[in-house]
Symmetry: C2
Subunit: 175 residues, 2 copies
DNA sequence: TGTACATCAGTGAACGCGCGTTCACTGATGTAC
DNA sequence: TGTACATCAGTGAACGCGCGTTCACTGATGTAC
């Protein structure tokens, strides 16, 4: 049990977590700044101090997502493993993933965001022998992850996406 | 110039078109029933007659999307061509495509929707020799289309997605 | 062809609600001396 | 260690607005005879 102080300590973090929670439950459109305040247990005007508006929250979320993705991919040496790391990132951070690839939701020109996106992009390109191969690998990993998360690709509730992705991604690598 | 009558003629169609337009401009969250009414030139309460609520509009849009996709895929004989038809569908109907794969936006259990989705799904599965291959083909086509539409995959404004997709999808087929 | 009537699509005024935003404020923290 | 003061994070009341929804209505269409 946390002691409730006048100053929250890390309200910025708490609001982002609340956003992830809310979006996870109701989708990227099903929340308001006031609801995030409610979830974080602060007054309704507090979120504006840190993010300005809804778009600010989503921009922060997308930026965080690209940074997490870049970090996850940087650790990989192998092309196939990088693809699987991409899928793992998506299932571990489904809300970030969903927001990141819907630029209509956030400020795509935000400097922090473009930097993070650029970093993720350069890591993505680095792993493949040719540009065409990189594109194919990115497409198949991204497609698998998207279809999995959207529920379009049927799977049992507790199923392991990465394990199921391996033989699928391998079809591209086997040449 | 159309004569304006008390009865619209095909208001259902007009509202769906308005929704496509609005979502294309501001994303899946940037509109209201009242705005669709404004765009269609009818009173603000009219859309509810046909769709009930916002979710009803999106459910209709997703249903229409799955029907269009099934139709586009049915015409294809070849596995690679089916993948390219998938990409073509996505770039020709970007709003439908975007909505279809965000089930949090609509009523995923709607009978008309599940029927259309089932039809598209069975056409998808039919084209491939094995289940794993179908999954890989679906993933790469879906991923390419998603990345293209989201702007994550850099491309010139007038570039032809299907033409660019061909060599990428071919990497999967060449075995 | 003409009349009566039922049905249906769309209207427009009214409502209550949650929202984002503003703003004077209060309480906590950090720094200077 | 103690005091004064500046800064900053969060408060809470107030506002105006667009929204979805309701409902009695009106105009157009279709059908029976």
């Amino acid at each position: 049990v946390r002691k409730i102080a006048y100053h929250h300590g890390d309200l910025r973090r708490a609001i982002l977590d609340a956003a992830v929670e809310a979006i996870g439950e109701d989708g990227p459109g099903g929340w308001s700044l006031r609801e995030l305040a409610r979830r974080a247990g602060v007054s309704h005007a507090a979120p504006a101090h840190h993010f300005g508006d809804k778009t600010g929250v989503l921009t922060a979320l997308a930026t965080e997502g690209f940074e997490l993705l870049a970090g996850a991919l940087e650790e990989q040496e192998d092309f196939l493993e990088a693809g699987l790391a991409y899928v793992r990132f998506a299932v571990e951070h489904p809300v970030h993933f969903t927001v990141m690839f819907q630029p209509s939701l956030y400020r795509a020109e935000d400097p922090g965001l473009t930097a993070a996106r650029g970093r993720a992009g350069s890591v993505l390109r680095k792993g493949a022998p040719q540009e065409q191969t990189a594109l194919a690998g990115w497409s198949i990993a991204h497609g698998f992850a998207s279809l999995w998360l959207s529920g379009a690709m049927a799977h049992a509730p507790g199923a392991d996406a990465v394990r199921r992705a391996r033989p699928v991604l391998r079809r591209l690598v086997e040449h």
